[in-house]
């Protein structure tokens, strides 16, 4: 493709402008976070005396150590469980091709379009009845369930693409279905499982409305849920609020930058497939 010079430069300028638009809010937040606590900073303005201590203050004021630990705990519960059960289901639907699978898929797909808001009230009532309200389980169990449509579909797509010959060879060797799954297919599915795991980690970290409704105590919530509470409490102080918000979004940004390729590939394939 040949492109003339003018097109080249106008294109690059467009890109630079859009990148700036994407980044400016973060920069603005960062410079604001460095202003003296309780002040009223204007736009982007480097403070005369940057208050790096604001980050420490925000960390302490918001009880951030506990919040982050809570979020990690939920991730550590939700992600492995979701991975195990969705991989099993994906294997059965995509590889074993069990009878009735064609009925299962639309059922799961419905969940992809579902607005969470529409089911929070019954979830609340149900969890109250079974006594798990206000615990981390209250967020975790619905989250696992809500991930199933995407996760099962995702794993199914992987297993559909695995050549049948692999299984047949293993079966000739006398492997049962369970051994076939554990010894042959799970190792092969590792990349797909890893991408799915990263995605679900980010989503769990960022989950808000379930945390808001199902758990009253911010220290039992996900990071985003806690951030919502933090905003309510410390809106008094714009610089502290900005510092706290940056601290809470930092982990996902780090995960993203570290696993950039997988996250992007996963999300893209995920959306195309899901």
């Amino acid at each position: 493709m040949k492109i003339d010079r003018r097109e080249l430069y106008s294109g690059r300028i467009t890109l630079l402008v859009l990148m700036a638009l994407t980044l400016v809010p973060f920069v603005s937040m960062f410079t604001t976070a460095l202003h003296p606590s309780g002040s009223y900073p204007v736009g982007i303005e480097w403070p005369a005396d940057p208050q790096w201590g604001n980050f420490v203050d925000a960390f302490n004021v918001a009880n951030m150590g506990v919040l982050l630990a809570s979020s990690l705990f939920i991730v550590a519960l939700v992600v492995p469980v979701s991975l195990v059960i969705s991989t099993m289901a994906g294997f059965a639907i995509g590889h074993l091709r069990i009878a009735g699978a064609s009925l299962l898929l639309p059922l799961f797909l419905f969940g992809l379009t579902l607005p969470y808001e529409a089911i929070v009230t019954p979830l609340y009532q149900f969890e109250k009845a079974i006594g798990i309200l206000n615990t981390r389980l209250a967020i975790s169990l619905p989250l696992i369930a809500l991930y199933m449509p995407f996760a099962v579909y995702w794993m199914r797509a992987h297993f559909v693409s695995v050549p049948r010959e692999i299984s047949e060879a293993a079966r000739v060797d006398g492997a049962g279905v369970w051994a076939l799954f554990l010894k042959v297919h799970v190792p092969l599915a590792r990349p797909a499982i890893a991408s799915l795991g990263i995605l679900m980690t980010v989503w769990t970290w960022n989950q808000f409305i379930l945390a808001l409704v199902l758990v009253e105590d911010p220290t039992q919530r996900t990071a985003a849920g806690a951030l919502g509470a933090f905003q309510g409490h410390y809106a008094t102080d714009i610089p502290l609020l900005c510092a706290g918000s940056l601290l809470i979004l930092l982990p996902t940004v780090i995960v993203f930058v570290a696993f950039q390729r997988q996250v992007i590939a996963a999300l893209l394939q995920g959306s195309v497939k899901g």
């Binding site: 797909l109 969940g111 808001e117 529409a118 929070v120």
Partner: protein, 318 residues
């Protein structure tokens, strides 16, 4: 969303082959495998059934009662639906959701096409790579954080007004999230900011699959960049466009986090969306029935909008 079926045409061949091979197996073996297979599906299905499908059924059930969440519910038939579809305030939330589609869907898709084309054409190197990463960043942070970031940016003292003042437009500076004329658009722009990166990358992936020979042929025919775009690029992206539109339309209709954090529905309900209204009705106004009816209506609206998109893209995709 269920684009998978058609995005992998090679699987249909596999399916046939596999069915054949299954048929050759002894009958008992198939039955046993199917039974085992269902055991593999069971945990996922069970948790999904209990924590998603069952609550959906309960929402439908609640929507037929007047209930405050505590006392004995009173059967009211379809009254709550009548309220949802006639109460000006509730109808307004549905309209707002539709208005948000312009910002959550139209802007990211159109701009995403432009950006993807630019990256393909004039920034295949480091710049393009960097742009992809940067534009994608808003997609990975919590929406709540996006709301907070933009609340600061769009405030009277924010960088948005600082910039407008700098370029001589001081006259139009204002508190954007507090303005009747602009608040919804401002909320919409936050959504566009979040979703642009996703659309860009999806479309970029789609473009990379287009056969270069098509473009060369077109250029030989004397087609300009414009005609090239409409004759080749756009039709080839049908699949990816369908995904972009589906994902962003759903995001618009079920928006909650951003609105909750940035405007809480104000000023004067001008940014109230169904998600937030459901939350308020159920947990604040304690009208669980009306909230549930609004929830059911929202579920139906999303299905009605999404299914045709899926159906259309499927039809032409095969």
């Amino acid at each position: 969303m269920n684009a998978a079926d058609r995005s992998m045409p090679e699987t249909s061949a596999q399916t046939d082959g596999q069915r054949r091979s299954l048929r050759t197996l002894p009958f008992g073996k198939v039955r046993r495998d199917t039974l085992l297979g269902w055991l593999f599906v069971l945990p996922a299905l069970a948790v999904y059934g209990v924590f998603v499908l069952f609550p959906v059924a309960m929402t439908v059930n609640y929507s037929l009662y007047r209930w405050d969440g505590f006392n004995v519910p009173k059967w009211v038939g379809l009254d709550n639906y009548k309220t949802v579809l006639t109460d000006p305030e509730l109808v307004n939330t549905l309209f707002n959701a539709f208005r948000l589609i312009f910002f959550f869907t139209v802007i990211p898709v159109v701009l995403g096409l432009v950006v993807a084309a630019v990256i393909r054409g004039s920034a295949t190197g480091k710049l393009g790579h960097l742009a992809r990463t940067v534009l994608f960043l808003p997609q990975v942070i919590p929406l709540v954080a996006a709301g907070i970031v933009w609340t600061v940016v769009l405030s009277l003292n924010g960088i948005a007004n600082q910039f407008l003042t700098a370029i001589g437009l001081k006259g139009i500076t204002q508190a954007w999230l507090g303005s009747f004329d602009w608040a919804l658009a401002a909320v919409g722009m936050i959504g566009a900011w979040v979703l642009l990166g996703l659309c860009t990358l999806l479309l970029l992936t789609g473009m990379s699959k287009i056969d270069k020979a098509l473009y060369e042929a077109a250029r030989i025919d004397g087609a300009g960049a414009f005609r090239e775009f409409f004759a080749i690029t756009l039709p080839s992206l049908k699949q990816e466009l369908a995904v972009c539109i589906t994902v962003t339309v759903i995001a618009a209709l079920r928006s909650f986090d951003i609105v909750y954090v940035s405007t809480a529905g104000g000023p004067g309900n001008s940014t109230m969306v169904p998600g937030l209204e459901i939350y308020d009705l159920a947990f604040f106004g304690r009208s669980v029935g009306t909230a549930s009816a609004l929830g059911v209506v929202l579920i139906l609206i999303i299905l009605v909008l999404i299914l045709p998109i899926q159906w259309l893209s499927r039809e032409t995709g095969e």
